[in-house]
């Protein structure tokens, strides 16, 4: 029998009074792809941080390839052959792929000229590529690369060191499209073939079934199960239920009824922005959710920004509640009654060092203040607490900096901000990226709740999300609006419309 790559017994870790991990037994076999599942706070991040040397375990034993593991910092972990790729890898934007991979290890011997030796870097990079074949042009700079290419550079950087045997990937697919995911999975399979064991965290359950040899589920700081995708299929288990520990209802709420439909709030005609999209037209009523599915680069991000006034339109008309509006900035849009829950909440949605109260009130400071602009502090706090309750913010603490919340809860704060902004049209872009399954169901429920009094648009690169949440939908393919051939899209029609630009082949 071969010695497992990682063998952990009874590992525990506490942070003050909070037990983050208790009594975890775990085995990573050599050359397997092993997924770690669990809702936010279940302990999977703590576990990989122990393996990568960020935290020290409190109790238990860990053996790496049969050797005792005494690791105090990330450098130690690399000595044991463990490399980690963070969720948002830090790469130098204007360096090439080659330069990034060998950053800090440009030369085997210290000398000034060796550092600048581009051909040597290229030779070593190509040698690495021949060991682990993957389609990528490493001579381009990081800023010119797509999300998956950056992920590949980060992985190559991690395994470029000597004798890396174990690779830890933290949510590598959270920002990737379906097509890009396939590229990453091919690389993961290549690595596995060459004997590298892979441990990876993901929130996307369907991926686990696709790529993982085995997976382990964390819940409340404990490892509650390790099994193979085949076992799941045989026994017809639900991964979501395993993670949540309860029988889960459907992730998506019930669809709207025709009786819910109200006033026409948004009427868009012939919208165009440069070469990114053209001739987009749709109507939106109160009481419904309109879904727009499109891949990265299809124009959905730009469309959301044009509708929100952050980008200018070149042609077309936008009518709000029957009146033609000209939206020159988000400020105009907010006044007119449009609120955007942007795709990148950390950059576009939140002031991370500020409290939930600050963030909740920011998009409607007029409502948050009274005479001479004085903030109504007690009212704002009460309102923030009320909205925190409505979105089920966890923990329900409105005074701590929002950077302390998990991704799903940060998204809930952006929604609370939307509630406070009191809009007629809510536009969600990529609403559940990096959000675990439990919080995701809650977010979908909130969208449905919002749609009772307003019109809601959900734009996403996740076809199942668009299809699951929306009452009506269309796809955006290379800036072209692809409508349903029938009255309503089936899931496969929508997928084909978004990927191929043609719904008829489904």
């Amino acid at each position: 029998m071969t010695v497992p790559a990682i063998s952990a017994r009874a590992v525990s870790k506490r942070f003050g009074p909070i037990s983050a991990l208790s009594d975890v037994d775990f085995v990573l076999e050599t050359g397997e792809v092993h997924a770690l599942l669990g809702v936010n706070g279940a302990g999977k991040s703590t576990f990989i941080k122990i393996l990568s040397g960020v935290y020290a375990k409190d109790e238990g034993t860990i053996e790496i390839a049969g050797e005792g593991f005494d690791c105090r910092n990330p450098k130690d972990a690399i000595r044991y052959g463990i490399a980690t790729v963070q969720q948002h890898p830090e790469l130098v934007a204007d360096f090439t792929g080659y330069e990034n991979i060998f950053l800090g290890r440009e030369a085997a011997t210290a000398s000034f000229t060796a550092r600048m030796d581009r051909t040597a870097l290229q030779r070593r990079g190509d040698a690495l590529l021949s060991r682990f074949p993957v389609e990528i042009d490493l001579s381009r700079t990081i800023q010119d690369m797509s999300a998956v290419e950056r992920e590949i550079v980060a992985i190559l950087q991690a395994i470029a060191g000597e004798n890396i045997r174990i690779l830890i990937l933290d949510e590598p697919t959270s920002t990737l499209t379906e097509v890009e995911k396939a590229v990453l999975f091919r690389l993961m399979k290549t690595l596995r073939t060459s004997g590298i064991s892979i441990l990876y965290i993901t929130h996307r359950l369907e991926e686990v079934m696709e790529i993982a040899d085995r997976f382990s589920v964390f819940r409340g700081g404990r490892m509650i199960a390790t099994m193979t995708p085949d076992e799941v299929r045989e026994k017809n288990l639900s991964l979501a239920e395993l993670m949540l520990g309860e029988t889960m209802g459907a992730v998506f709420p019930k669809k709207g009824e025709p009786a819910d439909l109200g006033e026409l709030v948004l009427n868009v005609r012939g919208l165009r922005h440069g070469r990114l999209f053209s001739n987009i037209g749709f109507q939106l009523q109160r009481g419904e959710i309109l879904g727009i599915f499109g891949l990265v680069g299809s124009g959905i991000d730009e469309l959301s920004k044009v509708l929100y006034g952050a980008l200018s339109k070149d042609m077309g008309e936008i009518e709000l509640k029957g009146e033609k509006v000209s939206l020159r900035s988000p400020r105009d849009s907010l006044k007119a009654g449009i609120f955007l829950v942007p795709g990148d909440r950390r950059i576009e949605g939140l002031a991370l060092a500020q409290s939930a109260i600050f963030n909740t009130t920011l998009a409607n400071l007029g409502r948050a203040s009274g005479f001479a602009g004085f903030l109504k502090r007690s009212v704002n706090k009460l309102k923030s607490v009320e909205y925190a309750g409505r979105v089920a913010l966890n923990p329900p603490n409105v005074t701590m900096p929002v950077s302390g919340f998990s991704g799903g809860n940060q998204q809930k704060i952006v929604i609370a901000k939307g509630l406070f902004a009191d809009a007629d049209v809510y536009i969600f872009v990529e609403p559940t990226v990096g959000v675990d399954i439990g919080a995701r169901a809650k977010l979908y429920g909130l969208m449905r709740e919002l749609s009772r009094t307003a019109g809601v648009i959900v734009m996403s690169t996740d076809c199942d999300e668009v299809h699951g949440i929306s009452d009506r939908s269309f796809a955006l393919y290379k800036g072209r609006q692809i409508a349903s051939p029938g009255t309503i899209f089936t899931r496969n029609q929508l997928l084909m419309a978004g990927i191929m630009g043609d719904a008829h082949h489904a």
């Binding site: 983050a20 952050a310 988000p330 950059i347 576009e348 004085f374 903030l375 302390g404 901000k417």
Partner: protein
Amino acid sequence: MHRHSILPTGLGRSLAFVTLVIIIGAAFTAVEPRFLSTQNIAAVTRHMAANGLAALGLTFVVIVRKFDLSFAGTACFAAMTIGFLIAGGYDLWLCILIGVLAAVVVGTFNGIAISYFGLPDIVTTIATGSIAGGLAFLYSRGRTIFQNFVTSGILDLNDARILGYSVSFFFLIALYAVAWVFMHRTRYGASFYATGENPVSAYFSGVPTKFYTMLAFIICAATSALAVVLILAESGTADTNEGANLLMPAYAGVFLGAALLGGTSVLATLAGTFLITMLLDGFSLLGVPYYYSDGVVSLILLAGVVLFDARVRQLFADLVSFVRPSTQVRENRT
């Protein structure tokens, strides 16, 4: 995201600040008993007024995460404008008003160039500061202006006392109170903070971020002109050196205050300025030449900036955990 902190937070920080003031005060008093004399305390409060005014305006610029290196030059231009007008026999308040307006023009130029045209803040303000400092020479070809100063009444601004303290100190406190209310209790202050914290999310939230960035530069120019009025009142003359001594204490006040109290704010700047003024005054009382005391205060400024920088604090936290691996740094996240 989790943060590590090696400094106490909230009340702990305030206590740490008070302790620091007491220690420094005791140290100076031990060497030079006159440090606690009413005369010296009055002097500290008077000096604090000029530094504090410049630091107050700079606080706005730092809150929107920009730098203004022009305000020393701008203040000098304002000083010579005021001096020229006083020498011309105009009413004192009119002279001050025009001087402040002259500074506001420079500040507006900075603001528009940096926020609406996206020019780099540091280079732009170095340039405008030099230009303003150069323009200051035009009034008298660089000669000191002193005509009419005694009769204009400007010296009274320095000499007037309420309860034994200079009026300028009360003016400072009043202006800080107004600034505190504006910054920490109104929607406008929230907009300044939102702009600095994350301009993209602020813009997406409907905050006119460019306008607030411009406003910060205008406020900074205006308060540095007010600061130089107090300097003119104390010296009784206007020369082309005025304002040059504002730059370092203002930055030291803002950043040291932020380091001590955990973030840039009106109160933090007041605390920082108090500490800096106390140090500068103590050194001058001891007869330490200014080139030494400036060096010491600048070192303290550097220490403040280092402590203010989250990355450096992280490094310290890592070092501490490396030296004592048993006491692992705690994750604050819940």
